[in-house]
Amino acid sequence: MSSAQPALEVESIRKMYTEHDGVREVSLQLAQGEFLTLLGPSGSGKTTALMAVAGLTDLDSGSIRVSGKDVTKLPPSQRDLGVTFQNYALFPHLSVRENLAFPLKTQKKVKGRALSQKVDSMLDLIGLGHAAERRPKELSGGQQQRVALGRALIYEPDLLLMDEPLGALDRNLREQMQREIKRIQRELKATVLYVTHDRDEAMSMSDQVCIMNAGRIAQIDPPQKIYHEPNSEFVARFLGDANIFGARVKSKNADDYVVELTSGAATGLTSHRTFSEGDDVRIMCRPERTEIVPAGEEGAYVRARIEHISYYGNCFRVNGECLDTGASVIVETQQHSLPEIGATIGLRWAEESAVLLGEG
């Protein structure tokens, strides 16, 4: 099997519990060693998709291949996957050492000395050598999490599936564990399909982020790209604050568009998506790429009134209301001489900073 073989291929899987609940038309590909995160609001179908890959949920249709092998019909025990569950699912009647040894003893690929050496080195890797004889309930949340991770990685599965592994931990510990998971993943060159509803977690850990909405994939792209070039208002708003303005396509030349904003100003931009002249569209620009200019100045695309200014140490955040449409706008700036609250300002952005979104 060549290493160019994708670690996981999910082809338009479908699993509907009711007419609306479940997942449909979900397709994914993970290269060896890649870290892909399913990110979406609660109920968007992340767990269902993950459990389908694990074989713990029956599919209505679609197919799943792990390292090129079709596993759609195989039970979970024959898919060679590691899975961590949100509540860790550690065996309460077994010690940390026995928990780690469980999959090895089950699979019988290593025995005796080799087995205990493997367990010892995993105990080292997860930093729990001193707690090897304890029961799960005698461990802290972070320690339990590491046992769950170690137990899923110890048999070197082709693919690691993690369902909100840090959901039960508090903020500080969560960030520490994010780095820990990444360290172990890099060390073992593991391929990971990860689920979270925390966008910072997804952005900081992933090679690819897959946004899920109402059982479907909204967009799959690397973190930077998905943040600055969302393909829908849903993705734009789910990943952070966004300034979104109504506009109409005035003219186009291949990928270069000229659009007219509701305010009457015109701006050019590039989009790989296809729109026609006269189409109603929307323009999205992130707060940190939106600039404040004097209201009367040529080239201000939108005028807004400042409602609130807050200081964040590394920047100011300016909240305002768009004068033409009443939409709220937000700007992040390092500029220190800001107009006062109530003042009218102009907003603009570099052409390459804005993206075109379709309707809906």
Binding site: G55, P76, S77, L81, G82, H93, K137, R151
Partner: protein, 299 residues
């Protein structure tokens, strides 16, 4: 596996931490002394009297009663018979109740409420009445025999009453709900994700059951077996109504001694021996697993 478990930290602290001394309110005093009085009146005094009785004959203090019971083949036979029938009935009860309890424990809250009504329903009728219902079903002219003959499965009625089989059917039936309830309580606390987790690690469903579910459900099963066994050994009504001449159990002997011979001393000795045997089994169980383990959560 169970015996190697260390004592969880909570238990040790639970023993050493004492509540602060404080004055009790009138209602608290009343209920405290009330329950102590109740215990004294209905447990300590009668059991004490019984124990004293077992060491007495008309000649005064003596061990004669015990000597008589323990040297008499008749009594020993009945002890043995009681323990044997208790053991077999308990085994059957556990084999039947385990899968039922496991099944119920996987239902939704509503499902549990619904099914539990049917499990507990028999307790709303008197044991004597329920036992007579079985006599109607199992008798020579009973429902089961009539059905089997009509269906051509057997040529003539089977003897299912007034023998060992009758006693066991009766005991299993009476104690099945108890065994289901106790095991259900433990099984309900087992996280099914553990089984799914075991499967993703390569375990078949069978292996996941034996390596994960069984050890986690075992404390409940042992507790159920223990209680059912104690109840079986002390049962009176069922063997009296459904057993035959040869199926006398200890409780009946006690009754007969008192009713026919007015031999309180011997009867008391039998009761005390029975009590010691049962307590011994309980202590053994507690040594092995710890009754308190039942109330730990499995999360």
């Amino acid at each position: 596996m169970v015996s190697t478990q260390t004592v969880p930290v909570e238990h040790m602290t639970a023993v050493t931490v004492r509540p602060k001394k404080r004055r009790l309110s009138w209602t608290q005093r009343f209920s405290l002394w009330g329950s102590l009085g109740y215990l004294a009146a209905f447990f300590v005094i009668p059991v004490g009297a019984l124990v004293l009785n077992s060491f007495q004959t008309v000649d005064g203090w003596t061990l004669t009663n015990y000597a008589q019971v323990l040297s008499d083949g008749y009594y020993l036979g009945i002890f043995w018979e009681t323990v044997r029938i208790g053991f077999i009935s308990t085994t059957i009860t556990i084999l039947l109740s385990y899968p039922v309890a496991a099944f119920i424990s996987r239902l939704s809250n509503r499902g549990v409420a619904l099914v539990m009504v049917f499990v507990i329903l028999p307790y709303f009728t008197n044991t004597v009445v329920r036992t007579f219902a079985w006599i109607v079903i199992l008798g020579r002219e009973g429902a089961l025999n009539s059905f089997l003959i009509a269906a051509g499965i057997i040529p003539e009625p089977l003897q299912m009453l007034y023998n060992e089989l009758g006693v066991m059917v009766g005991l299993v039936y009476v104690f099945l709900p108890l065994a289901i309830l106790i095991q259900f309580a433990v099984m309900r606390g087992i996280d099914t994700n553990l089984l799914r987790a075991a499967e993703t690690m390569g375990a078949s469903k069978v292996r996941a059951f034996f390596k994960v579910y069984l050890p986690l459900s075992l404390p409940g099963t042992i507790a159920a077996a223990l209680l059912v066994f104690i109840e079986c050994v002390g049962a009176y009504i069922t063997p009296a109504l459904m057993g035959g001449q040869g199926n006398t159990m200890v409780a009946q002997i006690i009754e007969r001694q008192v009713r026919m011979g007015l031999d309180f001393g011997t009867a008391a000795a039998v009761v005390v021996i029975l009590g010691v045997v049962v307590s011994g089994i309980y202590v053994l169980y507690d040594r092995i697993t710890g009754m308190t383990k039942l109330f730990e959560d499995n999360s």
